[in-house]
């Protein structure tokens, strides 16, 4: 199968918020293509009579009753925050829109 194109790798990197150099893009194009080739082998298995499966665990309907319990103390909740302000996590402004 053809290798992933540099543009496809850039798109995936963008989704994963990774900044890659041109050399890395070349490297990942090969690495990711190898992974896809490996998955392609699995697609050769005949699954005509197999029900689509999302989980191989013998578990179903694992649910809990709707009972609230106290969570973390605010100090603990924010312990790992790189920055905070008035009890909020503080991050660089992220605007999804182009106003």
């Amino acid at each position: 199968m053809p290798k992933l194109t540099p543009d496809e790798v850039r798109h995936i990197a963008e989704l994963a918020k990774l900044a890659l150099t041109d050399e890395e893009i070349e490297q990942y194009a090969s690495d990711l293509s190898a992974i896809l080739d490996y998955a392609r082998q699995l697609q050769q298995v005949n699954t005509e009579h197999i029900h689509p499966t999302a989980s191989v665990l013998p578990l179903r309907n694992v649910m809990r009753p709707d009972e609230p319990r106290p969570g973390l103390a605010p100090e603990d909740a924010l312990a790992n925050a790189p920055e905070r302000q008035d009890g909020y996590f503080k991050v660089h402004a992220v605007l999804e829109c182009s106003q």
Binding site: R60, N61, M63, D66, E67, R69, G71, P74, F89, A93
Partner: protein, 484 residues
């Protein structure tokens, strides 16, 4: 010039009423709480923390699906919707994608041409996101709302006007409140809308290019944004242009949309099954149990009020708008029994009672005048022990003090005066005291009749039987006329 038909579909997100969050035991009652005080390792996405499904949220989704005439799926699965944004600590939202909980339903709405079914594509369960406050180049993040169960209801593009959209939203909100699935409290963000809208030449069966509008947090915003977008698209088409497929945001205070993203930058969510949550297999018996527990739904109830109580559809609509009001009315009619026709009872509820309820700000379920107490008052009126005017006054006192109608009537001596001889003496005296008015009435100023009635009522503190007073006044005023 061609005319265009508007085609609109809606996505409605409704926060479900549960005690705890969707996948962790944090309290879901977060509104107004200080930031990040309803959080735990699960909803903060700390490594190793695992989600567990809230059974009540699933039950609420099934109830909503049933109320929307949907097929309830047996095999349901949660999936990860991947995107990177700080309102989502995990980097993905857990949602239902390929196997949603409810599909292929409909909601009936009223249009000027009669009832219309708006098809429901799907209703699925997901988790809400955190809240961001943007200020001075930074974003402040509060995860109290992150992980609160959210029901997403997606309609087919079946609406053809802004009025139909408004009616759909009103009925959907009413339904969700009726079944106890959502508070429907828009001011607290319990319902949030997205609309997709396109135009096509009238008569065409093909769909035009649709535009999505997000961030619609009130019904008014939905109406305003749609009106703006419909006008914009119509202008583009009339000028021979093409509508571009974009996602828009709505700036309510500026009254305009803005482009959030175009098709080229559409998100690639890379959905895949959530490995941390075993799939659900919904037991039929559970669905039947939930169906049996549903209350009478608003439309069926409205129809019953028309058929059983002989109400107009408009009155039935008003009395079934809220479940608590409809419950009150049902109980009241039952307690009044045959003493008064339901239509008349309805007028008392929609008039005097609604006025007192509105003034008090109390929910109808919490007012001191219970259906049983109100029924006692209406029975006194029906038995002509008191007149309508007195009943109105007594109701006010009952509302204030919570006393029984009979006790108030007795204590304040409000029983109606129907004694003709006593009223006759009073009428004679009043006419003798007001010769000028009598003369003017005689001379043709018949509007003064109401003034005479008012004088008698004032003298009797509103207790006189109005029928008797009217009869006496008519007789006496005619006599006086003949005498001179």
């Amino acid at each position: 010039m061609p005319t265009y038909e508007v085609v609109i579909g809606l996505e409605v997100h409704a926060e479900l009423i549960t005690q705890s969050k969707m996948f962790c035991a944090c309290s879901a009652d977060f509104f107004g709480a200080p930031p990040n005080t309803h959080v735990c390792p699960v909803c903060l996405a700390m490594p190793g923390a695992l989600p567990v499904i809230n059974r009540e949220a699933v039950a609420q989704t099934i109830r909503a699906g049933l109320a929307l005439n949907c097929t309830i799926a047996e095999d349901v699965r949660f999936e990860r919707k991947n995107y990177t944004y700080p309102d989502l600590p995990k980097g993905y939202q857990i949602t239902q994608y390929e196997l949603p909980q409810a599909v292929n339903g409909w909601l009936e709405i009223d249009t000027p041409d009669g009832s219309k079914r708006i098809r429901i594509t799907r209703a699925h369960l997901e988790e809400d996101t955190g809240k961001l406050v943007h200020e001075n180049g930074v974003s402040l993040v509060d995860y109290n709302r992150a992980g609160v169960p959210l029901l997403e209801i997606v309609s087919e593009p079946d609406m053809r006007s802004i009025d139909e959209v408004n009616e759909y939203l009103t009925r959907l909100r009413q339904l969700l409140i009726y079944i106890g699935a959502s508070t429907g409290d828009l001011e607290k963000g319990a319902m949030r809308m997205e609309a997709n809208v396109s135009l096509r030449p009238a008569g065409s069966q093909e769909l035009g290019t649709k535009v999505e509008i997000k961030n619609l947090n009130s019904f008014r915003a939905v109406r305003n944004a749609l009106a703006y977008e419909i006008a914009r698209q119509e202008k583009v088409l009339r000028e021979g242009g093409q509508v571009e497929q974009v996602t828009l945001g709505w700036l309510e205070h500026e009254g305009r949309t803005y482009v959030q993203r175009t098709k080229e930058e559409a998100h690639d969510y890379r959905y895949f099954p959530e490995p941390d949550l075993p799939p659900l297999h919904i037991d039929r018996a559970w669905v039947e149990e939930l169906a049996a527990g549903l209350p009478e739904l608003p439309r069926a109830r409205r129809q019953r009020f028309v058929e059983q109580y002989g109400l107009s559809r408009k009155d039935a609509d008003i009395l079934t708008a809220e479940r608590a009001v409809a419950d009150y009315f049902d109980a009241l009619v039952a307690a009044v029994g045959d003493a008064m026709p339901p239509k008349k009872v309805a007028n008392w509820v929609m008039g005097d009672l609604f006025r007192l309820v509105n003034e008090s700000g109390l929910p109808i379920s919490g007012i001191p005048v219970t259906p049983a107490k109100f029924a006692e008052l209406l029975k006194l009126l029906a038995a002509k022990t008191i007149n309508a005017n007195t009943a109105s006054q007594v109701l006010k006192t009952m509302f204030r003090t919570g006393e029984d109608a009979g006790a108030i009537v007795e204590r304040e001596g409000l029983a109606q005066v129907s004694d003709e001889a006593a009223l006759e003496r009073l009428v004679d005296r009043l006419l003798a005291e007001h010769p000028d008015e009598v003369a003017r009435y005689r001379a043709g100023k018949t509007q003064l009749f109401g003034w005479f009635v008012g004088q008698v009522m004032r003298e009797t503190r509103g207790k006189a039987n109005p029928g008797v007073v009217k009869k006496l006044l008519e007789g006496r005023l005619a006599e006086h006329g003949q005498d001179e």
